[in-house]
Subunit: 381 residues, 2 copies
Amino acid sequence: MDRNAKNSVGAVTPRAEKFSEPITLASGAVLDQYELVYETYGDLNAARSNAVLVCHALNASHHVAGTYANDPANVGWWDNMIGPGKPVDTNRFFVIGVNNLGGCHGSTGPATVNPATGKPWGGEFPVVTVEDWVATQAQLAERLRIERFAAVMGGSLGAMQALSWSLQFPERIGHALVIACTPSLSAQNIAFNEVARQAIITDPDFHGGDYYAHGTRPNRGLRVARMVGHITYLSDDEMAAKFGRHLKHGRLLYSFDTEFQIESYLRYQADKFSEGFDANTYLRITKVLDYFDPALKHGGDLTLALAPAKAAFLVISFTTDWRFSPERSREIVKALLDNRCDVTYAEIDAPHGHDAFLLDDARYHRLVAAYFDRIGAEVGA
Amino acid sequence: MDRNAKNSVGAVTPRAEKFSEPITLASGAVLDQYELVYETYGDLNAARSNAVLVCHALNASHHVAGTYANDPANVGWWDNMIGPGKPVDTNRFFVIGVNNLGGCHGSTGPATVNPATGKPWGGEFPVVTVEDWVATQAQLAERLRIERFAAVMGGSLGAMQALSWSLQFPERIGHALVIACTPSLSAQNIAFNEVARQAIITDPDFHGGDYYAHGTRPNRGLRVARMVGHITYLSDDEMAAKFGRHLKHGRLLYSFDTEFQIESYLRYQADKFSEGFDANTYLRITKVLDYFDPALKHGGDLTLALAPAKAAFLVISFTTDWRFSPERSREIVKALLDNRCDVTYAEIDAPHGHDAFLLDDARYHRLVAAYFDRIGAEVGA
């Protein structure tokens, strides 16, 4: 199998599962029912031992790989990682992507009609956490009769879910791939999230989150939120290499039009994002990030917090990631080693900042491919 | 003289000078007249050789030191640096602070009535540059009959002005103190400025900059702009030390109220700032920063760009400044040394990030004090 073949899983079809058992969230709020939208790639083997759960980060979805028959340009967000012959080889593994609770790509979220009122949840949709997401993913796994995942993997916020799986369901996960992660957000990370939230919440079109009823969208705020987020995903060096001080029009205009190409790029990214994403979901996902802190219940002791883990771990960080820096990944590695976990750690020298986890870096992909060879050998995939 | 004595210059009174000669700005726009508000501390000596110009950064003003008789809590923004017995000793030096053109503290700016229309300039007020500011400061110096400054000094954007003085008026400046500076903004720096601008410009209360006529203020946008700026002034470490993940209410609320103290701090700073600062000025000052790039006219060659300089230089950077990092100051130092300039360079190991230049760090202040002893010896102050 040529791992470099950029084969796609092809056209895929999302499915939905409805859960009618009430679930109590970390906040204490109860959801009487909810639906999760998901996609799968590859085949579950007879032993049901080759399932891999891929958890998404802030602005992604269940559409991890492949395309849609009616929208062939809509390629899954981790298509370079997952597919036939790719590092997570769908000829060997059965891969699942789920849109998380509170999302805006089909799973129950703020834009969903609240059965109790007949209107969209809006501002009333509860705050959720990584732990809530993992709990609902576990429900989905049961529905699909997957008792144990060969691996749970993700980057950034997705990695937090993989880590949390190893703590919430230590018997139900063989391997956790924890990529570009942090054991908790720093004050600076929270601060950037708070800027994003304030931009959205103070947008006059936000209406306390009930903008669906007003026929508006707080796109101004969502644009700014996305811009500030985007900056933190890229490294300073990468931005310098890509944009530097290149002028948009070849000369200075001395106006508030775009002078520099970086401005033009950010505005484009902001426009594209704000048209396709729901602001209430964005708000909640920033909170999910802020809240993640498994050590909190253990007096800040991460080693104690990670004691339940039984999975083997592949932890990967990227040298130029200033959002969740390698130092933070090393905290996770140290706490896992303190607990005598089986840990492989790699710090990839990549120029791309936090977004490196999404990119097709040869060393990074070779590492993941080799790790999945090991998993495949263990589970007979 | 006890340098540690926290003596103040006491109550000060701003003055204004009006300039009726038209000035052509870098943009090509012409201002027929303008006014600059300024303050002075200490006495000009008989030789008129002991004048020090202090240039302000993004959000400051001419009120550099002392207080106002009718507002004793309003202490100048660099009062720890400037005063009797302080590093810039007003017993020896005559210090001038100027509110820059386009400002919102008294000098002609967007909120000033445009004589041609009888209405505030608003969105029509031209974009200005560091070079424009220096040119107008030079006009003020002539008015005050100061042929040559013993020193021009500033931090951040203020340092850009000090550096530009040495290029625009090499004969009229003895020393340039260039603190926490950069030879030009990086793509990341510009990107953060662009977020600030987009937050303001897309605020429905902005009205294309003519919000004075609408009786509104784009405070929502200005709040967000200030928050994102503020994050870049502090170091990650400093934020971690000051705020960490400390909760505002001692427990998690799982709501969009402030959960973490850092959120509360940012909101407070944003509220305070947006009430006292003019959004049109903020917009223009971010552009001043973006445009600063003395090497641009020299094909990007900073050594060529700095060739006119005849001043002696004290260049200071701070280890944890990730906005204008020490690497960027070293670019300036290298280009000055290439030109055989007299340069003293210090990298201060301070935890405070970019804002360190405003703080009372003992090593930093001792260095500036010693440097001013040298200047005093030269000019007989």
